[in-house]
Symmetry: C2
Subunit: 277 residues, 2 copies
């Protein structure tokens, strides 16, 4: 009832989608998606009251909002009244994935890169200051191939993420870095903006990024940036493997291959988009 949003509108210099969670000017949808987020980020199914405590809204309002979300299939509720993400999301995502032309164009190149190196290849896109993995190609794949696709990881401590960040212009980069919270996933994780920036400067010079156990202990990778040019979208490819097998020399040796794959993907994208523009 109070005029909550007095001041926020005008000054909103949101050129970027740095998802600050506060600046969302999306009215009703924003409120509803915030609820979906709460459910998505929780460890398990949530009861009505759990959600109530996270979203300071009156019970009546929350109840209607959740009902609408359930009705639309974005959430599901079991007979114990516990809410979880709805299966419609899986269905929509599967369409989104199947029809993603960037992914489709990249796929053969990922596979080729996988064959050249024998290690796992990832394709991820930058969204805000996170990387979302779009595809993954493993060699003698273990069972859970599906696992990584759709996952989000912080851009500042992953190979794909840093590669993508390095392709931003300085202004945009500064904006996204400002939105970061540095967290020490491992002993090698960058702890502040200065270290990250230094790394990114190197990456720009070299043309590729390393991740030496910055996100996960025992996991290293080389990655190269892709300017997808489609919607100003930035992405990256990487070759990833366990540190005991993937030595620094191997990473160095693979770097040109990764860069070549990234370049091929860019070229193919441009060709597919046609001589337009």
């Amino acid at each position: 009832m109070p005029a909550i949003n007095e001041g926020r509108m005008g000054l909103n210099s949101d050129g970027e989608k740095g998802d600050t969670r506060r600046g969302r000017e999306t009215g009703t949808l924003g409120k509803l998606m915030a609820l979906v987020d709460h459910v998505a980020l929780a460890d398990g199914p949530m009861r009505f009251t759990d959600i109530l405590s996270l979203s300071d809204q009156p019970r009546g309002t929350l109840h209607r909002q959740l009902s609408h979300l359930v009705e639309e299939g974005l959430l599901e509720v079991d007979r114990d009244g516990r809410y979880r993400l709805g299966i419609r999301l899986l269905n929509l995502a599967s369409r989104s994935w199947a029809r993603n032309e960037f992914r489709a164009v990249a796929e053969p190149h990922l596979r080729h890169l996988q064959e050249l190196t024998g290690e796992t290849v990832h394709l991820g896109v930058l969204r805000g200051s996170e990387v979302i993995y779009l595809d993954k190609v493993e060699g003698r794949q273990s069972v859970r191939m599906y696992s990584q696709i759709g996952n989000a990881s912080p851009a500042y401590c992953t190979g794909v993420g840093k590669a993508a960040l390095s392709a931003l212009d300085d202004l945009d980069l500064a904006g996204r870095i400002a939105a970061l919270e540095f967290r020490a996933y491992t002993a090698h994780t960058h702890r502040n903006a200065a270290r990250l920036l230094a790394d990114i400067v190197e990456i720009r010079v070299r043309g590729y990024a390393f991740d030496r156990e910055e996100h996960e202990s025992g996991i290293c990778c080389v990655a190269a940036p892709i300017r997808a040019d489609d919607g100003g979208m930035l992405a990256g490819v990487s070759v990833t493997g366990p540190a005991y097998r993937v030595t620094s020399q191997k990473l160095q040796q693979w770097a040109p291959l990764v860069v070549a794959a990234a370049d091929s993907i860019m070229t193919d994208m441009r060709n597919r988009l046609g001589p337009k523009r």
Copy 2:
């Protein structure tokens, strides 16, 4: 590289009750999700005007709605102004999938069933009159393992779908059948409610369902129903393979294995849910 099972998915992406597309009482969210549906069902990216012609709304209104959807990441727009599904959906779906306890409980059983039969095993849940595939285990898996997961297929001509339908009570079954549109995917597809009902009666007696090239030529399967009991949810497991390899005798021989797997999954689910209820 080949998208093996590229869906011919239903016209009707929304399940739940008799989805008259008009009766959605979900206010603003309903209107917005209808737009998402339009984009999801289109063959490719859509221009503003394409969507405008499908959704009879004023240009100004549509523009704001699409902006909100883009802002929230449910849709994306490239610099040519073409809309497609947003990558946030992939991220949400990946969480939804990873945390789905039903899927997690079923997984070892699917794997076991795959080893016993050597053919592909599917897990799907019933949503409205469609089946959405939750998991898939292939033997020497080819590349596109991901493909089927999240896909929707009509319940009336798939093994998993018919098995799940057979576990409904008569009233509910009648309701869902009434909502069906029969389409002849192959020469063996049921063409009307009577044939389908007769099949379902047999399935109830036997305890398992066959699909002999009803949805896709050259593809057969045996499936058993799972009463997930979680939210009144119904599901099914199936073993699927090419007709030249999967003979009628084999299907018969596998039937008890499939039923056993379904039963094990049910038991595990009940145990995990605890002695509650």
